[in-house]
């Protein structure tokens, strides 16, 4: 991997970088759409590429189950299997083991779980996770970590963090001897729950191993913790992580989370949210989400967003026809998925442009004014951005709302 920071925000910790991998260049910060089972829901890889997406995510756990490694091996890897010629990232499979299987037990050797096919006890070790990811062939692969829910408290959190460090060593060793270091890049995952001391210890240990890792992910978040805790953990990590390594915040996808994380120095993020919400009829816009299921859209002949460059909007697809078809015809899900992926890319792309132009703080203010101007700014966003020198409330009389502040169109009342 080649990683170069090409511009930095003069105020916040945001930066623009060029990340060169075996399947091309991805400009950071970027959002990665999730193709869990080797397809972005309903789309073809050619469509995804035409949207300007250069890096997507596959899930190791799922691909290991289906189609299985033998198929991927014979196909010549996941890129060829799914016809995706750009960059690809796989997770380690550990997160799904814990979130999807209720019988998983973590031992020092690895994660012990019941095989979904036979029910037989099966062990996923760090070595095996890496070797599975080698077969899949993604450009970026993740270490196996000991995942605990972000709401867990007590000694288990510390234990998981320590073990994640030990497992990182085993992943590095496995990766080093594979001979795949030229084409695949291993990322470490910083754990430590919501405890600043544990996070610091984890950061310290993992940074010591920087020569064995190409980048760092921030794990153990997005599990229902308070937003005010969330941003503080992100900031703690980005403050310490080395400048010359990309930083990846896992499971982040709401627009406000993305811009705040970028301001705190995050380079990459992924989430199923934009593609999943599309299937339920929610289109994302710079003025907040539109729930196209609501009858208020039934006669609206405007596109989702007149200024959006996505195929759905440039084609003039009306909110009315989307309302007519959403949750009835897959074609409506495809149309909104195309739009939402472009929306995420626009949020990040405008951010990159603003950083390069030295106008990122203005971008943040404009983003929040458009997105939250009508309902009020989430307090945690205001606090987070203050910590990096941007006062969102400067020259505005916008309201502040406590809590997560995530915006949603619940009813037919008012709004866009």
């Amino acid at each position: 991997m080649q990683f170069e920071v090409i511009a930095k925000c003069h105020t916040t910790k945001a930066r623009v970088s060029r990340m060169t991998l075996a399947h091309g260049v991805t400009m950071l910060p970027t959002f990665m759409p999730v193709a869990t089972q080797a397809a972005i829901k309903g789309l073809t890889p050619e469509q995804v590429e035409s949207l300007g997406v250069t890096l997507i995510l596959n899930n190791t756990y799922h691909l290991n189950l289906r189609p299985g490694l033998k198929v991927l091996n014979e196909a010549g890897g996941a890129h060829k299997f799914q016809g995706w010629h750009r960059n690809l990232l796989t997770d380690s499979g550990g997160f799904q083991l814990v979130s999807l299987s209720k019988f998983t037990t973590i031992t020092e050797e690895g994660a012990l779980f019941a095989s979904p096919f036979t029910g037989e006890p099966t062990m996923l070790t760090p070595e095996e996770s890496i070797s599975i990811q080698h077969t899949i062939g993604a450009d970026i692969i993740m270490q196996l970590d000991d995942v605990v829910s972000s709401l867990t408290t007590g000694p288990r959190v510390g234990e998981a963090m320590e073990r994640s460090v030990r497992w990182l060593d085993r992943c590095i060793t496995q990766h080093e001897r594979s001979g795949k270091k030229d084409t695949q890049n291993l990322f470490a995952i910083v754990q430590g729950g919501l405890d600043p001391e544990l996070r610091d210890r984890c950061l310290e240990e993992m940074i010591k191993r920087r020569d064995g890792v190409a980048g760092y992910a921030i794990g153990g978040l997005s599990g229902g913790e308070e937003k005010d805790t969330f941003w503080r953990v992100i900031k703690q990590c980005t403050d310490k992580l080395p400048e010359e390594r990309p930083r990846y915040s896992m499971g982040i996808g709401f627009a406000e989370d993305l811009v705040v994380c970028v301001a705190l120095g995050v380079d990459m993020a992924d989430c199923v949210f934009p593609t999943r919400t599309a299937r339920f009829g929610v289109a994302l816009t710079h003025k907040g989400p539109l729930n196209l299921k609501l009858s208020k859209h039934s006669k609206d002949l405007r596109p989702i967003d007149e200024s959006c460059p996505c195929p759905t909007c440039t084609d003039g697809t009306s909110r009315a026809i989307l309302h007519h078809n959403v949750t009835h015809e897959t074609a409506a899900a495809h149309a909104i998925t195309l739009h939402n992926i472009v929306f995420q890319a626009q949020v990040m792309g405008r951010g990159r442009a603003a950083i390069v132009e030295g106008a990122f703080p203005d971008y943040l203010r404009t983003f929040f004014a458009n997105y939250f101007g009508d309902v009020g700014y989430p307090e945690w966003c205001v606090n987070a951005l203050r910590s990096v020198g941007v006062d969102l409330l400067e020259n505005t009389d916008a309201k502040i709302i406590p809590g997560s502040g995530a915006k949603w169109e619940y009813s037919n009342a008012a709004g866009n």
């Binding site: 080797a38 309903g42 007519h324």
Partner: protein
């Protein structure tokens, strides 16, 4: 083409004047839009050819870029009834010269849009039609659609082609002679209604933006399964109009003059024939006690129950074709009508039927509904005309759910190749599954242009840069993981294979018409007409749907509650 038509509307020309009223024929549909000044004022469709079916206004599973990039999609048929969920129907709010095209994202230079009130493939029982309405189905229940409303909707949304309302009963068959008499009288009156010229006030509201608009009208040939009724309806089209009827349509002397083509829907005919057949069987044997249908679907349904539960699904489990009985019915309708107008058949179920309808009747256009539905259940079509020599009896396609495709890295059809492949003896399948190509352009979102990334600028090239075909193994995987992309790729493929079938039919008719009968016979023998592969696929589809589709969590929970080993794999 040397002489393009000057008047707007549908022009059908037979390339070789048929020597007989019935029998295979080659033709061309040329459609010219009124006052058209765009680059492509004409849509040209050679016949025999296909029309693409839609559901709720979209080609199922296709995004707009996909329906445009599928060259086989030219004539698209839109059932209007789902739009009656709102009053006024939302498409009527769309403005412009081609509102229906605009609303649904079809390209006036590329797509011909026809519109009918009802979904032509829906054979569900319906409340009876009335003297002044057709019962139509929408998600908000059954609606009554009057001929006057229909006319106003047609003039508002301006489809290229419209099917006149027809009184086709979907009540429990069989139908009495009295009912059939009513049916043909109403169908006659409703055809007359849609042919009426607009009044001046109507013109000023409905034709504000396109004063030249005039729908091209097709008539559904009424009379159901009664030969005398069919003959009576067809004859009525040729009878000179007089009195108040003549007053309403001054521009024509008899209704057929205003009609541009004849259409035949097979679903009501099959239902009616099937009911008659069952009745005669019932009359011969005492009634047996039938098991009552399951009241609520069992959440723990296993593979064994799958076949039983299929009947509860709206998945067109095939109605017996009755094609031999249908052929004379169609011929009766066409006995005396001019041979110069296109003949359209909707809801064929096999290419075998298509060939028979071409052979004995001389049908020009067929819907692709069956091939599109095959994509829903994971079948990739793979057949050619004429049939390959030898090789024994073949399936028309592949049930890609089948485990034999797990490691099959070949393209979707053995009879075709992808554009990038070098097996030059095979024809190319141009669909985006067999011949995908690198997108010629992409979006940029800020600081990702080549000047920043340092990547080579994509050369502007007029020829596509083809990629390897999607493989059966990949589609097999997508189907088993319940990924929607499988169906998008299969729809594009199957419509393209059907289009190639029609193109081979035309080739044979123009180059070797003398071998037609022999090749039809050979095709019918070479390919399995029962389409067992579709039945197998339907079962596999249902298994995956139960394992991964809607309601899956409830079923899994029920399974876990029973104490079985539940690994609760959430596959999202």
């Amino acid at each position: 083409m040397s002489s393009l038509p000057v008047t707007s509307g549908l022009h059908f020309s037979l390339l070789t004047p048929p020597s007989a009223r019935f029998g295979p024929r080659l033709g061309t549909v040329v459609f010219k839009r009124p006052g058209c000044t765009t680059d492509q004022p004409f849509v040209t469709i050679p016949t025999p050819g296909l029309l693409t079916a839609t559901s709720r206004g979209v080609v199922p599973h296709l995004s707009r870029d996909h329906h445009r990039k599928t060259q086989a999609i030219k004539w698209v048929h839109i059932p209007f009834e789902t739009f009656l969920e709102h009053n006024p129907p939302v498409p009527t709010l769309q403005t412009g010269k081609t509102p229906l095209h605009t609303f649904l994202g079809f390209n006036p230079g590329q797509h011909l849009l026809s519109m009918s009130a009802r979904d032509l493939y829906d054979g569900r029982e319906m409340p009876p039609n009335g003297k002044d309405h057709v019962s139509v189905y929408s998600l908000r229940g059954v609606r009554k659609l009057s001929p006057a409303q229909w006319r106003s909707y047609v003039y508002s949304v301006k489809p290229d082609i419209v099917m006149a309302l027809s009184d086709t009963p979907f009540t429990d068959p069989p139908y009495s002679q009295k009912r059939l008499t009513k049916s043909i009288e109403r169908s006659f009156a409703w055809l007359l209604n849609v042919l009426c010229s607009l009044s001046e006030p109507e013109k000023s509201t409905l034709l504000k933006e396109e004063p030249h608009y005039k729908p091209t009208v097709l008539v559904h040939m009424s009379g159901m399964t009664s030969i005398p009724a069919r003959r009576a309806f067809a004859d009525s089209l040729l009878e000179p109009l007089f009195g108040p009827e003549a007053e309403q349509v001054k521009h024509i002397k008899y209704l057929d003059e205003g009609v541009s083509g004849y259409s035949f829907d097979l679903v009501p005919l099959r239902l009616s024939l099937d009911a008659a057949e069952k009745k005669s069987i019932d009359a011969m044997s005492p009634p047996s006690s039938l098991p009552s249908p399951a009241e609520t679907p069992d959440p723990t349904t296993t593979a064994l129950d799958v076949e039983a539960s299929l009947s509860q699904l709206n998945l067109d489990s095939t109605i017996p074709p009755h094609i031999e009985q249908i052929l004379p019915l169609l011929k009766t309708s066409l006995e005396r009508l001019p041979t110069t107008k296109p003949r359209i058949v909707n809801s064929t179920q096999t290419p075998h039927e298509t060939l028979r309808l071409i052979s004995s009747v001389g049908i020009d256009l067929f819907d692709a509904h069956w091939a599109q539905r095959a994509s829903d259940i994971g079948v990739s079509l793979d057949f050619v005309f004429p049939a390959p020599q030898g090789e024994g009896r073949k399936d028309l396609g592949h049930n890609l759910y089948h485990d034999k495709y797990t490691y099959d890295f070949s393209p979707l059809a053995s009879s075709f190749r992808g554009a990038i492949d070098t097996e030059f003896t095979k024809p190319i399948c141009q669909c985006l599954a067999c011949s995908p190509s690198v997108p010629p352009t992409r979006l940029y979102h800020g600081v990702d242009e080549e000047s920043y990334s340092g990547e080579p600028v994509m050369p502007l090239s007029s020829t596509p840069r083809y990629k390897p075909s999607f493989t059966r193994a990949y589609l097999h995987h997508l189907l088993h993981t319940h990924e929607m992309s499988a169906h998008s790729l299969l729809v594009m493929h199957n419509i393209s294979i059907l289009d190639a079938f029609f193109s081979s039919i035309r080739k044979l008719l123009s180059e070797k018409p003398e071998s037609w009968d022999a090749e039809v016979k050979r095709f019918i023998e070479a390919y399995d007409e029962d389409m067992v592969v579709l039945d197998e696929a339907r079962v596999s589809w249902k298994e995956v749907e139960l394992a991964r589709g809607k309601g899956r969590l409830a079923r899994e929970k029920a399974k876990q509650d029973e104490g079985t080993l539940g690994t609760a794999v959430e596959l999202e």
